[in-house]
């Protein structure tokens, strides 16, 4: 049973990254490949504010969120908005470029070593049926669900949430209806960046944070988003946990060297059988 709990721990990280992908996808239809770097920056800023500056936890979180909100705004406003030819491929390529730049900046500022962030709640082992879990992991899982609930109700029921979705469906129509599309796009990046920071901050005590972490977090998070179906928060959540548990399962039953390979074979199978992902909807296109 331990593989299940192991899977939940790594899965919750993938899920948080996958949800970040979905926020931006839901408004702009883009995949932001710098989502993993948002997570890394969040963790590193927590290290700076908590360990180096010695701020109280709540202030540290606040400072991290504010900085990351600004990073998200700058990201969209200065780098994506002024692209001459705004095709999806171009914009996605720019997010990849920015991911590399952010990784470089993180290396220059924080160095190459892994950084340890002190735990926010008491670090203890909790016995569960057939295994054990760390108290920190349980915190991450709870936050995961919390975020999914808030975001999906925001997008479904609030006026602003509907505006976000309108941008995804048809930008011209949304503009005609009086929605400030540029503002909404910018906000979606800011929220995704903020969520990345939250993810990075809460997982840092379990996994440490290294400047190269963004690559793998981004890849696995993207895979999780695809499994669950792009655009669905619950799908992202489910996809993340599923990917984590599948990995844990294969590490347990097979020689553990193959676990990643098998996790990605499952991803391929899902794409063959249900290309929209488990919870995804197809975008309706009028011909």
């Amino acid at each position: 049973m331990q593989f299940f709990y192991s899977g939940l721990t790594s899965g919750s990280i993938y899920a948080l990254v996958a949800i970040g992908f979905n926020i931006i996808y839901n408004t702009t239809g883009l995949i932001n490949f710098a989502q993993g770097e948002f997570v890394v920056l969040g963790g590193m800023l927590m290290y700076t504010t908590l360990t180096i500056l010695g701020l109280p936890v709540s202030v540290a979180f606040l400072v991290t969120f504010i900085i990351m909100f600004i990073v998200g705004v700058v990201f969209e406003k200065f780098f994506l908005r002024y692209v001459k030819l705004k095709t999806e491929t171009n914009l996605i390529a720019i997010t990849i470029a920015l991911a590399v730049i952010m990784r470089g900046i993180a290396m220059v500022i924080w160095g190459r070593d892994s950084l340890a962030v002190p735990p926010y709640i008491e670090d203890k082992t909790i016995s569960v049926i057939g295994g054990s879990m760390n108290s920190q992991s349980i915190l991450v899982i709870i936050v995961c669900f919390f975020v999914a609930i808030i975001l999906s109700s925001f997008f479904k029921y609030t006026k602003y949430g509907k505006a976000f979705r309108a941008c995804y469906d048809d930008q011209t129509a949304a503009t005609i209806c009086g929605i400030n599309v540029n503002m909404i796009r910018m906000l979606s990046f800011a929220i995704a960046s903020l969520l990345g920071a939250l993810a990075g901050a809460i997982i840092a005590p379990i996994t440490f944070v290294t400047y190269t972490d963004g690559i793998m977090a981004g890849l696995k998070g993207f895979a999780a988003a695809i499994i669950g179906g792009l655009g669905s928060f619950w799908g992202g959540l489910f996809g993340g946990f599923a990917l984590g548990v599948i990995e844990g399962f294969f590490a347990f039953v097979l020689p553990s060297g193959f676990k990643d390979a098998f996790a990605f074979i499952i991803l391929l199978l899902i794409l063959f059988i249900k290309p929209t992902g488990l919870f995804g909807k197809k975008k309706a296109v009028r011909v």
Partner: protein
């Protein structure tokens, strides 16, 4: 005008010869991913050469040190080596820092008959033996033998290994599997992890279910710290051993209380403050530590020690063989009982590293610090 230039340049040329110095080359990964290894090596070498020159040099001739940065890349190391060989006319090259670049220039060193004293760990650099190629760090195999010897002494027979899927982990895993028979040890579980993995409880619970006598983890970076945490979380009773790759304060910082009670082989420089005064290495290590820390105002690392030994070996060979490259290589091969910072070097025709198991100590983590076990 042309004539003038010609005369001038030939004058400079001749002048250069009149004040001939001993050109010593060095290639280190001063920048790039291995900079934490390369930088202390460069600093150490510069400090030692400076000291040697101040003391009068070799029969009045000063050593002219030329250091290049290979950024940890094979191609870059090759380029820099050719420059050292052809333009700078060096008589010996110290470095490179990493295994890849060392292997990349091995053939060139032989072609140009330039002795190379590598600061990289892998055994393949000096195995098979090449007349001009030497290295100072202990091979990973010695660390494995040190652990196995300790296990054998404590009558632990069933061992589970968990190794990382990268160069360092692969070398360790091969050595762990190959050496097991010689020490009467049976590997009952062989698990792997990626250095980007965030949770290893799956692999560890599988290991625990086979109830081994000891667990050996081989990896560097944050992943072994996560293994230590997960090991504590699952409350496994069998003792945990790790490689010399985690013998740094940085690791203790990451793993925190989870590292408590863990064993690992490490070079003496890691625990220099705790060595007994009878230890024959202590004077050398303390001397190096004091000099390094007062010159650069930062703590000494065992990586700098590799460059320390490389320079001392070169110095011995130079004093014995003179400035001839072939003679230096010969003299290097015949160095016996040189007590260096890493261990005692006994070079021979079949061993161009010359270190033994005793270059490692078995240490244990206690109160978030090292404690010497034996």
């Amino acid at each position: 005008m042309k004539k003038m230039l010609l005369i001038l340049s030939s004058l400079i040329f001749l002048g250069g010869y009149a004040y001939a110095e001993i050109n010593l080359g060095a290639i280190f990964s001063v920048t790039g991913p291995a900079s934490y290894l390369g930088l202390p090596e460069k600093q150490t070498l510069e400090m030692l050469v400076d000291e040697y020159n101040k003391a009068g040099g070799f029969k009045g001739e000063k050593i002219n040190l030329i250091v290049y940065d290979d950024k940890g890349e094979d191609a870059e190391a090759r380029k820099k080596f050719l420059r050292l060989a052809q333009n700078d006319k060096v008589i010996t090259v110290i470095g490179p820092t990493r295994t890849g670049p060392s292997l990349a220039i091995k053939d060139e060193a032989q072609k140009n008959s330039i002795p190379l004293i590598s600061c990289a760990a892998s055994k393949v650099i000096v195995h098979p033996v090449n007349k001009f190629i030497f290295k100072t760090p202990q091979s990973d195999e010695l660390a494995v033998e040190k652990i196995y010897e300790y296990l054998q002494k404590n009558k632990n027979k069933k061992v589970a290994i968990i190794t990382s899927q990268d160069g360092f982990g692969d070398t360790g895993r091969n050595a762990l599997l190959a050496e097991a028979k010689n020490y009467g040890i049976e590997i009952i579980s062989d698990e792997r992890f990626k250095d980007t993995d965030k949770d290893m409880t799956s692999q560890l619970s599988k290991i625990a279910s086979k109830s081994p006598d000891a667990i050996i983890c081989w990896g560097i970076g944050p992943a072994p710290a996560i293994v230590a945490k997960n090991y504590k979380q699952l409350n496994i009773k069998a003792p945990l051993f790790m490689s010399h790759g985690v013998a740094s304060k940085k690791f203790l910082e990451l793993a925190g209380s989870a590292a408590e009670g863990m064993y690992l082989p490490a070079g003496r420089l890691t625990v220099v403050d705790k060595l007994s005064d009878k230890d024959k290495y202590k004077p050398i290590l303390m001397d190096y530590k004091k000099k390094f820390e007062s010159t650069y105002n930062q703590p000494v690392s065992s990586f700098g020690g590799y460059a320390y030994d490389a320079f001392m070996l070169f110095k011995l060979a130079l004093e014995k063989g003179g400035k001839d490259k072939e003679k230096i290589a010969e003299a290097l091969e015949n160095i016996k009982n040189y007590v260096g910072s890493t261990g005692t070097f006994n070079m021979s025709k079949d061993d161009h590293n010359g270190l033994g198991k005793e270059s490692f100590l078995m240490i244990r983590v206690k109160n978030n610090d090292w404690e010497i076990v034996e």
